[in-house]
Symmetry: C2
Subunit: 292 residues, 2 copies
């Protein structure tokens, strides 16, 4: 197999570090070109740095979090890299892929599809957790993937929570901490999630509930867990999110508010204006674990 070539599409100096956009041909996504952004703080010139993975929400690309999240000021100060993957494969050419804004392109849901129609390309779970770290390490980029945490927004909050909880349940300890802004917390019970599970998974909503529902997974976790969730009380999509279901499941499983903290933020909505307001809190939350 030919070695994977990382192509640099652009590079911008930012908070004394560098934000670089890369492209490569992804094996996991079925041979499609995939793009991501990577922020490296200035101290990466001296030694490998820890990394925080940001998963964006429906309709987004690798750019939204980088441009609007407000994460890099604190990440630069803390000496933490941030990795911004795209939200789905692009250009798979599957019938219906570009019809809906909440399914297909821009809506990969951070799972591995088992429905044969989608399973060649729609494997964002393996892409984020395995292929991206491998490709970045192989390219010699100075990131220490043994110090990794993950966060995200909305569909990406769902992705961050389920990826993190799955890694805890599998015992891999791939991520040290997880946080989310307005995450889809109980996808098997809401329209966005059931649509995704029904489409991508051969086992439909039942398979999704068992493997990709944060409110189910959190109930199975024993031992140490580090989760921070923020959502806004003026979020128009609260009926898609169900943060109270996640909180209840966490408490029922015995996780206290130090281990799983779910904060309701008065008057905030679903936008990046909300995210960037609490960006500092989330970066420092992760820095506690990444720099421990």
């Amino acid at each position: 197999m030919a070695p994977i070539v990382l192509e640099k599409l652009s590079s911008n100096k930012h908070h004394e570090g560098t934000l670089t956009k890369y492209k490569f041909r992804s094996v996991v996504l079925g041979g499609l070109d995939a793009q991501f952004n990577l922020f490296l703080p200035a101290n990466a010139a001296q030694a490998k740095v820890p990394v925080l993975v940001y998963l964006a929400g429906l309709t987004c690309t690798e750019d939204n979090g980088a441009q609007k999240g407000g994460f890099m000021r604190d990440a630069a100060a803390e000496g933490i890299a941030i990795l911004f993957p795209d939200t789905s494969p692009r250009g798979a050419g599957i019938e219906g892929e570009d019809v809906d804004w909440d399914f297909g392109s821009g809506a990969g849901f951070y799972l591995n599809a088992t429905n044969p129609k989608w399973s060649k390309h729609y494997n964002m779970l393996s892409y984020v957790t395995q292929e991206l770290p491998q490709v970045i390490e192989a390219a010699g980029i100075p990131i220490d993937f043994s110090r990794q945490s993950i966060f995200g927004h909305s569909m990406g909050g769902h992705g961050a929570l389920t990826t993190y909880l799955s890694s805890l349940l599998a015992g891999t300890k791939q991520y040290r901490s997880c946080s989310a802004f307005s995450p889809i917390c109980e996808p098997s019970a809401v329209p966005w999630g059931t649509k995704a599970f029904t489409g991508y998974l051969a086992g439909g909503v039942e398979e999704g509930k068992d493997r990709y529902d944060a409110s189910v997974l959190v109930g199975r976790v024993k031992g140490a867990i580090n989760v921070l969730v923020d959502y806004g009380t003026a979020d128009n999509f609260l009926h898609q999110l169900h943060p109270e279901a996640f909180l209840r499941a966490a408490r029922d499983a015995g996780h206290d508010e130090v281990q799983v903290r779910v904060r309701s933020q008065d008057g905030y909505d679903h936008s990046y204006y909300f995210i960037s307001t609490f960006a500092t809190d989330h970066i420092h939350f992760h820095a506690n674990f990444l720099k421990a």
Copy 2:
């Protein structure tokens, strides 16, 4: 004349304050609908707050600075409002208005057109300096326009500098301070500027050089002046900006580095990644004057 009605298009809580998008029918822009964003910090609920006007660059709208500038965190902490106007009239229906990205729509250059083809609508100078403050005051929004400063990026940096310098020369003291990211400092000597002046002004480049060239205007200013300029050494548009011409003109006129500070930032480019890196510096620079 019917009173002007400010229509609220959207509102997002942000850093404990509120970012609101408004629309109204602008008299100065020849009866066209105009949109702007306004950030009000939380303390505006108690008393009128000072305001910083942000002028965006070519192709931008009222959204770019609000979404990508990274200004509101520090503005909220300092208790300063930020006003984000659009960069040109929209939908004037003038032949050629939408042909080029650097002239017409999205490229109003913050001047008052004197070429009859454009002069009914392209009056962004009066729009920013007169109509917007009047409309906002008339609507009862708690801003104290006697404490006003102005900043901008690229074409908007040109707008901020020329608007500020003109107000000093006219003795109105409308703005307490001015700053700019990668401004077009000598428009009468570069392609973007000469194209705009030739098109919008009956007197062409000569009229532009006399009325709207920061490097000319700064040479006429006597007395107190408060200007901060940042530009990046990796800016692909440096040949359109000429910061060294502005700096030379300022020093020739006797303005020292406390009065007119021009900083070259190593390795930074023309993007919002550059702007947001130095956003904190600019907000605090203006806060010194707005809260004096």
